[in-house]
Symmetry: C2
DNA sequence: CGAACAATTGATCCTCATCAAACCTTGTGG
DNA sequence: CCACAAGGTTTGATGAGGATCAATTGTTCG
């Protein structure tokens, strides 16, 4: 309740909500703070709550039985996550959510969302829209992984990051914050390969790489690479 | 209208529909017959209709700019497809649907479904359930492709086919119909690799492979392989 | 200053894609 | 009913693309 309910309108699924509905959601939420590296929930846990991130950064990932992990998506402020569980009752989370830095989120009972949707078509519609974007993005990434070479995939991942969380610098570049390990997980490759590719790009002046940071100098060139139009 | 509206209840999204609603959908549908290799719709087309397959088999696929293609999923009887376009207005299909054999489908206007959902929460709920299964399946396949070797992926694809369209034979095996090219597209590999792997399995008595057909003799062993528990 | 963590770089190896050629199966038409 | 065409499958040979391993070099922070 420390949250101004109007803030919730920044969540895509709540954009068409009435003020009263926003207040309802706000009243039924509890705040949860999580340290870097800790988990909001694990794959397989019963999906009792869904979350809205209000500060920090988190990632959704899947692990295979051997413990190898893959990044499904990065969650930034005012994004909803863990909401798939709200659709079925007794569902479990299909992925694990881990905080990438100190983060706080609103937790709302999945049951509550499900009940609200029964009488508010706009809610279902907006959640479905969100779900279609997930499906489309996963389909694209799947095709990418199946048919495209690493360099293109890394370029594509980097561009996605630019549009998600890039900040322009006075020098005329775009600044990004992440480890190469993270970029590797997003692109379906290893940190070694990412390092080599970034070094290559740095030689050609496309980017500048530092510790936990990349400065994109020529996004246009990256687009070319991601579309296979270089050399 | 030649379709008995009660048949529509076999479609997962219509399972909770009232009889009257089924009739409405039936009245607003038109039948479309498509030859093998022809297309229901292309990626990027405006999503005016969604479809319910009533006979035959079709596949949903994505192509990259170079024309290389990836199978997203196989559609069998009484499955809905092309319905993502019903969520947004003016949406386009995010994939291409091609008939794998002579097929007929009911085409229903996306607008109509969207209107129906405004006043029938059960419809939205059931469509959302379907969408969550897509998301989960794509997430799993993505992780698989990113972290698992071909043999396991092929085993997994084969098992998916078994549960989707396998028919038991008197001899105690499970019979499947598809080309190795198709299995390759589903597993994110090439027909050469599929052929080699199937030959290997045949040597060990797990399967018998023939032209456009595979007989699975020891599904249990396939499960082991798909989970990395062999050797 | 030192410990912990991130990035780099070289060397090696392995999995699979690719290419080529032959082989098999099925259906068709003379 | 046989011969041939077309499409599916098999198998070998080759090579490229990255993963993996190992060792070193930054960088940051307590």
């Amino acid at each position: 309740m420390s949250i101004d309910s109007q803030q919730l309108r920044r969540v895509s699924v709540f954009q068409n909500a009435t003020d009263d509905d926003l207040k309802l959601f706000s009243k039924n939420s509890i705040e949860r703070s999580i340290e870097e590296g800790e988990f909001f929930f694990f794959q397989g846990d019963p999906a009792v709550y869904f979350y809205v991130l209000i500060s920090g950064r988190a990632k959704l990932m899947q692990m295979n039985p051997a413990g190898q992990q893959v990044n499904l998506r990065t969650i930034t402020e005012w994004q909803m996550f863990g909401a798939l569980g709200a659709v079925r009752d007794n569902a479990t989370y299909p992925a694990t959510a881990q905080a990438m830095e100190h983060s706080t989120a609103l937790a709302i009972k999945s049951d509550f969302l499900r009940e609200m949707m029964q009488t508010r078509p706009y809610l279902s519609m907006d959640l479905m829209k969100l779900m279609t974007t997930y499906i489309q993005e996963m389909q694209e990434r799947y095709r990418e992984l199946a048919t495209e070479k690493v360099e293109r995939r890394i370029a594509h991942s980097l561009l996605r990051l630019v549009s998600q969380m890039g900040t322009k610098t006075p020098g005329g570049g775009i600044e990004l914050t992440f480890t190469q390990q993270e970029l590797a997980e997003m692109s379906g490759t290893t940190l070694y390969t990412v390092s080599r590719v970034l070094s290559e790009w740095e030689k050609n002046g496309l980017v500048e790489a530092g510790r936990e940071r990349v400065l994109v100098r020529k996004p246009h060139e990256l687009v070319k690479i991601s579309e296979g139009l270089d050399r």
